[in-house]
Symmetry: C2
Subunit: 330 residues, 2 copies
């Protein structure tokens, strides 16, 4: 590999001058500059990132910690983050916890060792240890999707969006509303969305039956199983609507309902959250809420940039969302 020394020699100047030329810092004589430019061109020289990093402490890389790489939400978010990082000439280092909370800490450390300039964390839980780790962390961290104390966080409007869904369902006359959620260890998706459900039911004096509530694990299959469990357990008194905290689980739930001959939304209305592409094309199309994940990615990217620039206040923001009424709810 050609180094800055080779360039200097070939151009007949010192490497100091080459460096100045490269970084556009300080004066470089006209003639010298031209010779350097030429040599660089001929050799296809590229400065060594690791040497630069060692000196400047800047890698030009930010790390993203994702719960799961191959998910529609993740890829939309990454796409948004990528958009702003590209603008800044920064690269992205992807990291995937596969939903294992321990890995969140592990990757935080890894990214530290790789000297990421900043980190975007899409946490699924926010335990003690995680918070401690971040507190003493030498690298700017921002969170997306979960509110982490002391960390600039961009969250989705989980409670509000869920309330809107419930409002819609109740407004349409549904009284017996089931719920398919996920584990409450996930504050945003698990707790918040469920609270919105129970709060809405109570606010309208509707019965919250334990047997109408089931828990899935984000997968389509788990939605199918959850729906099955609810229906099987309430043969005589099935719900007439079901709120699923995720489009994928809603898809599974619909699959079961259709198999069993329930008409949607005639017998049972169904609503989800997330606006997966699929939701528009299944039959009936799914009523859901769009979280503008890509824009959220951009926004959290900007937050990170600001934080990296030294703006230290702990910013909390909630991202916009939009209720999308389709055919699975009348």
């Amino acid at each position: 590999m050609t180094t800055i020394n080779d360039i200097a020699k070939l151009a007949g100047v010192s490497r100091t001058t080459v460096s100045r030329f490269l970084n556009n810092s300080g004066y470089v004589g006209q003639e010298a500059g031209e010779r350097i430019a030429q040599v660089i061109n001929e050799t296809g020289y590229m400065p060594s990132q690791s040497a630069q990093t060692l000196r400047t402490k800047k890698t030009g890389v930010i790390g993203i910690i994702l719960p799961k790489i191959s998910t529609e939400t993740s890829s939309r978010v990454v796409s948004g983050i990528n958009k702003v990082m590209k603008r800044e000439g920064m690269q992205i280092l992807l990291t995937d916890t596969e939903l294992d909370p321990d890995k969140e800490i592990e990757y935080l450390r890894l990214l530290k060792s790789r000297q990421a300039d900043g980190i975007i964390l899409l946490a699924t839980n926010i335990g003690e240890r995680l918070q401690q780790e971040i507190e003493a962390f030498p690298i700017p961290v921002v969170a997306l999707g979960q509110n982490i104390p002391g960390v600039p966080s961009l969250t989705y409007a989980d409670y509000d969006a869920s309330s809107d869904i419930m409002q819609l369902l109740i407004g349409k006359g549904h009284r017996k509303i089931g719920f398919i959620g996920v584990s409450e260890t996930d504050p945003a998706v698990g707790k918040l969305r469920q609270s919105a459900y129970t709060d809405a039911m109570r606010r309208h004096n509707l019965e919250v039956k334990e047997s109408w509530m089931a828990e899935g694990d984000f997968s389509i299959d788990s939605g199918y199983e959850a729906m099955k469990w609810i229906i099987t357990g309430n043969r005589s008194d099935p719900p007439d609507a079901v709120f699923c905290v995720t489009d994928r689980m809603a898809t599974g739930a619909m699959e079961y309902l259709k198999e069993q001959g329930f008409s949607i939304p005639g017998d049972v209305a169904v609503a989800g959250i997330g606006d997966a592409v699929m939701s528009r094309y299944i039959t009936p199309s799914l009523t859901t809420v769009n979280y503008y994940n890509e824009e959220a990615g951009e926004a959290v990217g900007e937050m990170l940039l600001e934080t990296m620039a030294g703006i230290k206040y702990s910013k909390k923001m909630m991202h916009k969302y939009r209720l999308i009424k389709r055919d699975s709810v009348w």
Copy 2:
């Protein structure tokens, strides 16, 4: 940041010894080792990657060049690659060309400057310049999805899979088969799949009507428009089946057909390629072929590892696939 010098001082040894301890190279006294281990633990010390890289020329990072980040195929592939790279303790640097061929070269150079240990290229085209760039490239490159001359490549069985689809359609008695493809600048998806279509038609002495063939751009909408164009242009003699080279375009095509009151597969059978999750849940469910993208990602990851290990033969492999018969074809 704590450095190896801090650790050495705190443990009362030289940094040479700490380095040996860290890398498990050469002898380290029992007692010294224990002290070092302790100090490292207390400080949470992590060696600086850039310093290590500068010395060893290994970054532990591989680059992936993707046509588009937020796509089901991409995320499956990345997930597979990630699986094997994680095993090797390597990180992934993601790069997204947004379907711009110039960026393929740009990112190749970028990854060179970042000293990626290897590169996996998911090209969409394979122009002159790209090949030249790779030829003189100092870093191992492998390709997925396209066969690049002189480069170890793992390709999908585009021709065979498409032929199978056509065989199925023809076997079911379809004679007037339409085609929705993509630009032929894409050798794999554009050319190969189309060749399989025209070859199959000719082999069975079926007419290949220009007006039954349309071109989309991978998007659902473009499938919709392509189908519309075909139907509109053939009012008196519409095809009774259509082969779409992509599930997303097939989804759009079905959407249009359903809107227009065609029954699927009664009036028009539809088939795609890719096995998007969605394909299983739309109505009717879509006949398609599964390319095992995640496994392909693993396989190409292994190919890269081998290439990095110095195995230089230009390996060409074709990945397995599976025809999935569902309800959009009788």
